[in-house]
Subunit: 311 residues, 2 copies
Amino acid sequence: MTIQEIRSATVNADEERLLEEGLQSVEDAMLKVVNSDVTVLRDASQHILQAGGKRVRPRLLLLAYLAAGGTDVEYASPPGAAVELMHTASVVHDDINDHGVVRRGRPSVNAKWGRTFALLTGDFLFTAVYELMAPYGELNRDLAAAATGLVEGETLQAWAVKNNEFTRENYIRIIGLKTAALFKSAGSMGAKLANASEEVIEALSNYAYNIGLAFQIVDDILDIVGDEEKLGKTAGIDLEQGRGFAAVDGEAEDIMESVKRKLMSGNRLQEARDQAQGLVQMAIASLNVLPDSFAKQGLVDLANLIISRDH
Amino acid sequence: MTIQEIRSATVNADEERLLEEGLQSVEDAMLKVVNSDVTVLRDASQHILQAGGKRVRPRLLLLAYLAAGGTDVEYASPPGAAVELMHTASVVHDDINDHGVVRRGRPSVNAKWGRTFALLTGDFLFTAVYELMAPYGELNRDLAAAATGLVEGETLQAWAVKNNEFTRENYIRIIGLKTAALFKSAGSMGAKLANASEEVIEALSNYAYNIGLAFQIVDDILDIVGDEEKLGKTAGIDLEQGRGFAAVDGEAEDIMESVKRKLMSGNRLQEARDQAQGLVQMAIASLNVLPDSFAKQGLVDLANLIISRDH
């Protein structure tokens, strides 16, 4: 090995260790903030958090932080925990509205504790986000905007399904709000926590927004082709309720039949995969302004993983 | 009139005008932040906000701010809007769990838009709180703690009713969390926005916490003796579901009958009124550290109004 290679390998090992420390710190921060005296809130929160989940959002935040030159992962991990808890709050409420009974391979909070406590557990996870973020000043603007976007996206989706207006235009707007906005906040907060330049903040925000869009498109593909075992949640719910990319152009009378017909006759799934692939390529291109590092490579890998994942 | 009386009257008129301006600014801030592009969220939020309500919490925050020497009500009004929206979010979700169909004299969001949109509207109001508070730095700690307390109190209440553990001890804990914590945050934030001393912050926090307890006790009394017309919400729900101060000591088998028997035979209502009166007196005593002013008198009047109100 050349000296440069040795130095590079050492830096990589350091950054890899920091990422792992950061992810552990995210887990600790989440469990600490939900450790309520009110047993049912603590139990239900631990139930959903300890079921795992991919932790894509905090990983994204930490990688963005490290790629932008940050080194204090203890400082960056509470916002990482906050983005994951925001996502978790939304899935707990989602499972009420969608009657989802399996989530992350476990009974949903709704299935196990009933609607009243599921509603309150989701609220509690929202307030936990707020508590975690209280010390982070201006960063609250980023996450507050993402939180509002998330709720707006979920609402627009429910409205579009109910009113038979699940057009392609609405679909893009919905996934931008309900998924990509929170990804974007993870990217922008990671960059800002590292005191990055405006250029780097914008690059990491764009990267994150685009992989957020791709992530949701792939999720909707998996919702059609996946099975319950792989997904760990009640598969086909999104589809049954007329959501997902395939449910476009306003037809929703017998959406399942319509979608199946289209999948048989056309190439909608391939189109969607191509679109996700294009978004991931754009996302990776945004990273050009960053110096090479383990974390930058981690962001590239994360983007590619989003396309190749099967759950 | 003496010169001192004239000066005092002028100051009072200024402070009175500032309070009115602040309350108008709170209304404006609330309507602005819920002005979402997603029509159903905007409509449902406006529906519940424009139904009125007593605005006790923002009034408390603004009076605390003015009594502590603050003069920039534009600056203090977004946190005032935030405490009112936090309360509103919780009642929207409460009406889902309690099947409340009337709220503030109008159909509840749940009754008018259905459960899915009521759940999302409540979530949206929470995120509106978060957006309003994002610029307010450390104050977020106060409101985040109150928000968590609110959800914990609602949860503890639901749990106590379900498990037949609605003891007097649990009742005090519940109303401290679900009502007094948010009042306290209004008092403490008002004082902090005015850069008050630690002594004044503590006095206004204690004042607010105690009138919060009194407010909830009186609310529970009104829930028993009130009628739908006066209350503007589905009366008796709290009672039917085994909540409220009368439902103590663990009996909940046939709670309505049991409560009625007690009210006939005993003096529970009078005991509760006395307790609320004592809390209000303590609250008013806390104000001694403040110089006399229109706003201080306003806080005294607010405390007394809480006892004397009939809706």
